[in-house]
């Protein structure tokens, strides 16, 4: 249909190369820093590619020797997994029944708008009372306290995704089951939930990535290895007196790997989630 002139084709390919370079250059550099010897990174003129690749920082950060940089990193990795994991499970447990109820009962739909509106609240609007409350309950610097706070972000978001997911499952299927004598609970368990599993999985993945990415609350509410998450640990490294920039880069690569892998593997599902949310508002 559209015939491209040779000049236009050339222009397209140059532009594509440029876009690829813009996206990749910073990422490749992060990786190169992580495998360059410290001397190379401090050299002038800067060495853009190491003579010998040095993967030792990865073993340093992933070692469990007491009181090493690795121990702190592993602890923050574990904390991030626990906080994001617990918050995701709780958010899904709350969102599935609520999302189904809103999807099937238009008369309570307005409550979803209220829930979504809270998603726009700046975290600073809740931070001071949350800090005081966590302090009163002894939940400051605790993975449980932080996971609870993460529900402020994850619960509205997953409810919104689950509601759109249930909207895509025809209610006629449920009605047929009810006519055949199934109780509501049986219908949901045998018919609706299995059909909704892909949406549950996508929502959980999104929620986990949000929890993994979170920084503000983690910075405020955690203070040492017992609860500090990966994002706070990396910010500490970046702002501290670490002389080896390669180590900071290595921590960055390791923290980025899970979401980047999820992003690449789940690209289609993530984009359809993003855009369906985007288009429907």
């Amino acid at each position: 249909m559209e015939r491209q002139s040779p000049l236009f084709r050339l222009f397209l390919h140059v532009a594509a190369l440029l876009l690829a370079a813009v996206i990749l250059a910073p990422l490749v550099w992060l990786f190169v820093m992580s495998i360059s010897p410290a001397a190379d990174l401090a050299a002038k003129p800067l060495k853009w590619w190491p003579a010998t690749m040095d993967f030792s920082r990865y073993t340093v950060l992933l070692s469990t020797t007491e009181n090493s940089a690795g121990a702190a990193f592993i602890a923050s990795l574990r904390n991030s997994l626990m906080v994001a994991g617990m918050a995701t499970l709780a958010a899904i447990a709350l969102a599935v029944p609520a999302g189904w109820a809103v999807s099937r009962t238009p008369s309570v739909g307005w409550s979803l708008s209220v829930v979504i509106a809270t998603y726009m609240l700046p975290p600073v609007a809740l931070a001071v009372p949350l800090y005081m409350a966590l302090s009163n309950f002894g939940l400051l610097n605790s993975v449980f306290g932080l996971a609870l706070v993460y529900l402020t972000i994850l619960a509205p978001f997953t409810t919104w995704l689950m509601k759109s997911g249930f909207d895509g499952i025809p209610r006629e299927i449920e009605q047929a089951a009810v006519i055949d004598g199934a109780s509501l609970w049986q219908t949901l368990r045998i018919i609706t939930l299995p059909l909704a599993m892909p949406v549950v999985a996508t929502s959980a993945l999104f929620a986990f990535l949000l929890g993994w990415d979170e920084f503000f609350y983690a910075l405020l509410f955690t203070s040492d290895q017992r609860a500090k998450t990966l994002t706070v640990a990396i910010a500490d490294l970046a702002g501290g007196r670490v002389s080896d920039y390669g180590l900071i880069a290595t921590a960055g690569v390791l923290a980025a790997l899970p979401p980047v892998i999820v992003g690449l593997v789940m690209q289609r599902a993530l984009i359809s989630g993003l855009t369906s949310g985007g288009v429907k508002g």
Binding site: P97, T105, V124, A125, Y245, P259, L274
Partner: protein
């Protein structure tokens, strides 16, 4: 089944969510409002009622106006740049060329990179002594001597804006690309038959399909940009000389660095109010655009 029972059942199913939401959002928000009228400290004294003193003192102080300006400037520049580059990238990715599938896949990488990792990465790139930007610019000959990009008030905000745009323009591009792919092929074909120029094809055929999704992306990104905290905290902590201090950073300093919970709460509510106004205003525009496009 009767209608009342169905409604009751819906509320029962939503009850766990509602209880949690009231506990972690509703109550803290109400408490922030209450705190904003007191001189409470973060720890210790619960403070006494001071009326609108916090608000008046904040709004008349010079930090507020300057920070509001910095935040607005950051949000406007970042969102505009992301929208322009996002749409351009999407238009490119909607054309035929070798490696298109791969390039579309790459688009997700900056978006997937955790915000703090992105901030750390750019902080290393801008490093005054060993940074890649200094090295690259001096090696090509654009720069004579290394500069402290994040250490000088003149360049710090721009440096932050570049870092934020790099991470977020792919989101706009993904949304725009999905919208472009929804434009029916025969409508495009018809515009060729009618002899439309490339520009009028974009303006009258493509743009109406893009308008709705782009408006939503604009709303979400503007609100996010106005709330910005993470990237700035990691890269500059609001410095140098407060040149990159945004509203969220100011609230953090007031409430947590200076432990003035009361006045921090007032400031947080002002930010909330501005965001609410933005959201409502945009919501109205989005409805209008969505109504006229279809």
């Amino acid at each position: 089944m009767s209608g009342t029972w169905i409604t009751t059942r819906a509320w029962l199913l939503m009850l766990p969510l509602l209880i949690v939401m009231v506990a972690v959002i509703g109550w803290p928000l109400a408490d922030t409002v209450q705190l904003s009228f007191t001189d409470a400290k973060l720890v210790g004294t619960s403070g006494s009622y001071v009326g609108f003193d916090n608000y008046l003192r904040l709004v008349s102080g010079n930090a507020f106006g300057r920070t509001l300006f910095t935040t607005t400037f950051f949000a406007v520049v970042v969102v505009t740049t992301e929208m322009v580059f996002g749409v351009l990238a999407a238009l490119l990715l909607n054309q035929q060329f070798y490696g298109r599938t791969l390039l579309r896949a790459l688009l997700i990488l900056p978006w997937a990179l955790p915000t703090v990792v992105n901030a750390t990465l750019w902080r290393l790139i801008y490093n005054p002594e060993y940074g890649a930007l200094n090295a690259a610019l001096t090696q090509i000959g654009i720069l004579d001597a290394y500069r402290s990009w994040l250490g000088e008030p003149g360049t710090a905000l721009t440096a932050l804006i570049v870092a934020d745009c790099w991470k977020n323009f792919p989101l706009v591009a993904m949304i725009a690309l999905a919208a472009l792919q929804a434009v029916p092929r025969d409508v495009i074909a018809a515009s060729y038959v009618d002899g439309a120029s490339a520009f009028s094809r974009f303006r009258f055929v493509t743009l109406p399909y893009l308008a709705g999704p782009l408006m939503v992306a604009l709303v979400l990104r503007t609100i996010e940009a106005f709330k910005v905290f993470d990237i700035i905290w990691v890269m500059t902590r609001g410095g140098p000389a407060n040149s990159t201090r945004t509203m969220s950073i100011l609230v953090y300093q007031e409430a947590f660095s200076f432990q003035r919970a009361g006045s921090g709460a007032s400031l947080a509510l002002i930010v909330t109010l501005i965001i609410t106004v933005l959201a409502v205003a945009y919501g109205t525009v989005v409805k209008k655009v969505a109504g006229s496009a279809t």
